[in-house]
């Protein structure tokens, strides 16, 4: 199973200030342990929302809003994608992150197999519904 550990933003990550040498080393050690244990598949840190943008969808309309965004705690400052045998294992990995404050959210990543897109009959049904103009209510 793959999990995403989502690091939430705070005033610090949003300020754009670079992390201290100490914090940087601590995070480096944490990442190194994940690598050594063979479970880190990917991970990135994000620039503050002031350099980002949002696209909102409403029917055919798209509204683009530039950052920064104010609801700091709902923002994402970075993420790890790890392999774990169970949710508890993913939680235990997250627990070890060297944070003194803040929040990490643990979420399981969908397997492609959970979406059944290639099934011949599902595809046929989709085509049929499109051709006959029926909505997908079933």
């Amino acid at each position: 199973m793959k999990y995403m550990l989502i690091l939430n933003g705070d005033e610090n990550t949003e300020s754009g200030a670079m992390p201290s040498e100490e914090d940087l080393s601590a995070m480096g050690r944490y990442n190194e342990e994940l690598i050594k244990d063979g479970v880190l598949l990917a991970g990135e840190g994000l620039h503050p929302s002031s350099t980002g943008a949002r696209i909102e969808f409403d029917g055919d309309d798209r509204t683009v809003t530039d950052g920064p965004f104010t609801e700091t705690k709902e923002l994402i400052a970075g993420f790890w994608i790890i392999q774990a045998g169970s949710k508890e294992e993913a939680i235990e990995r997250a627990r070890r992150a060297p944070l003194k404050a803040g929040r990490i959210e643990v979420r399981e990543i969908f397997d492609v197999s959970e979406f059944d897109q290639t099934n011949e009959f599902v595809q046929k049904e989709v085509q049929w519904r499109e051709q006959t103009g029926q909505s997908r209510t079933a």
Binding site: D37, A42, Q83, G85, E88, E89, I91, Q117, T118, N119
Partner: protein, 444 residues
């Protein structure tokens, strides 16, 4: 604590919470699952560290298990400590010291070990014990678990138990055998290692390459067992792929200059990237060239390609795993079957057959040749193989032959070959698929 019987794990939830607000039995069950997770993460390091101190992996595992039992007993009351690895290591050491004290009168040697346990980082300050030597200890544990004195099956079971932190039950479920079979296998393996006086060491230069081959073989066996899992199987089976990949990555970190380790990691990541595309939702196998490439896992492909780069930059392009990974990479890089660099695949198969001559690899090469140079060229090779007589019972030979005949417009022969392939197939699904193909030929 000395000499205490092992508490039964599920007895823990009967304990009264000692603090107001402590969770009841539901909370305890949660704590248990959390402790199991900690065990999965920490057990290999603890066992490896203990094995270096006591020089015996059976005892090392026993002390580590004792530490786990102590955690199951105490953590639901006290909460999970901040540094779980250090806590468990300290607990395992205390068990070991108790054990050797009881054995003390039996000989000086034991006193020495007890002394080593005392001086190897004070047990009250266990952080010291989880430092530098752990990486080496882990590597030693890998080499000992995959020691050639053990049968392949024993190596696989022992590796999953000691390095994967899997329980006997989990291993048994993954391999579809009774739990007692795995239990006996592990007990016998430990006895064999002990009888052969296998030292807890990384092999020296003269035998390093051969011993590393054994480790890689074990990891790839675990991977393939998981890869062979089908839709209705226990979830532990596909889990084997994950564990094999994890072990491969751990090993790549421990011996980063060994090209073939990166080659194996690349091969596993690239093969795993196709796991979800290789069967339909009804469980029928989908051949590589018919797979929906949008379902290939791009993250694993990227990781696989990066690992292959490392293998090649270390001069390992001609290793058996790296060659197979390079073939898988040709497919991974292509957006469709006809975008595939088939000529390169043929060249890679050439190198692979020189390294490990095998009729199955020759057959795969024939398929690549047919894609690169046309079905007639492929058929010529397949016919040579058929005449060689080494694959008489292998249903994929007539199946490939039928496919090529069909492409060449020789419908009658193609149908006969598909039917022959169907009669030789091992499982019902493949047989049905081949019969369908035979029937489809007639429609042309």
């Amino acid at each position: 604590m000395a000499g205490a019987d092992r508490p039964v794990a599920h007895g823990v939830s009967d304990r009264e919470p000692t603090e107001a607000g402590s969770a009841g039995s539901a909370g305890s069950a949660e704590t248990h699952r959390a402790i199991e997770a900690v065990w999965r993460i920490e057990s290999a390091r603890i066992i490896a560290g203990m094995a270096r101190m006591v020089g015996d992996i059976s005892l090392a595992e026993e002390f580590a298990q004792d530490a786990l039992v102590a955690a199951l007993e105490q953590w639901p009351r006290t909460g999970i400590p901040r540094n779980t690895g250090a806590w468990l290591t300290a607990a395992a050491k205390r068990r070991a010291i108790d054990h050797w004290r009881r054995q003390e009168r039996l000989g000086v040697k034991y006193q020495e070990i007890a002394h080593r346990l005392h001086t190897d980082g004070p047990t009250g300050q266990p952080e010291a014990a989880v430092d530098e030597p752990i990486d080496d200890d882990l590597l030693r544990l890998i080499f000992v678990s995959c020691h050639p004195v053990l049968s392949r099956q024993a190596r696989v079971s022992l590796t999953l138990r000691l390095l994967g932190g899997l329980t006997t039950d989990e291993i048994a479920r993954a391999f579809l055998v009774p739990s007692s079979t795995i239990g006996q296998r592990i007990v016998r393996a430990k006895k064999t290692l002990s009888a052969a006086n296998v030292p807890f060491e990384v092999p020296g230069r003269d035998e390093f390459a051969g011993r590393l081959d054994s480790v890689l073989e074990v990891i790839y066996l675990v991977f393939n067992e998981g890869y062979a899992a089908t839709a209705g199987d226990d979830w532990m089976r596909p889990e084997l792929c994950q564990e094999a990949m994890r072990l491969g990555r751990v090993l790549a970190g421990l011996v980063p200059k060994q090209a073939e380790v990166h080659g194996l990691v690349a091969l596993m990541e690239l093969q795993a990237s196709r796991i979800h595309a290789r069967t339909s939702s009804s469980g029928e196998p989908i051949l590589l060239l018919d797979q929906d490439r949008s379902r290939w896992d791009q993250l694993l492909i990227r990781r696989g390609l990066a690992a292959l780069d490392r293998a090649e930059s270390l001069g390992g392009a001609t290793g058996a795993y790296a060659l197979q990974a390079a073939i898988a990479a040709c497919h991974a890089r292509a957006s469709s079957p006809d975008q595939t660099d088939w000529e390169r695949i043929v060249a890679l198969y050439d190198a692979l057959t020189q390294l490990h001559p095998s009729p199955v690899v020759e057959l795969n090469r024939a398929v690549a040749v047919s894609m690169a140079y046309g079905p007639a060229a492929g058929l010529e090779l397949v016919d040579e193989l058929a005449e060689g007589g080494q694959l008489v019972e292998y249903h994929l030979l007539p199946s490939v032959r039928a496919d090529l005949l069909q492409k060449l417009g020789r419908a009658g022969e193609a149908r006969t070959e598909f039917e022959r392939a169907a009669s030789m197939a091992h499982n019902e699904r493949e047989r049905a698929l081949l019969r369908e193909r035979a029937a489809a030929v007639e429609l042309l």
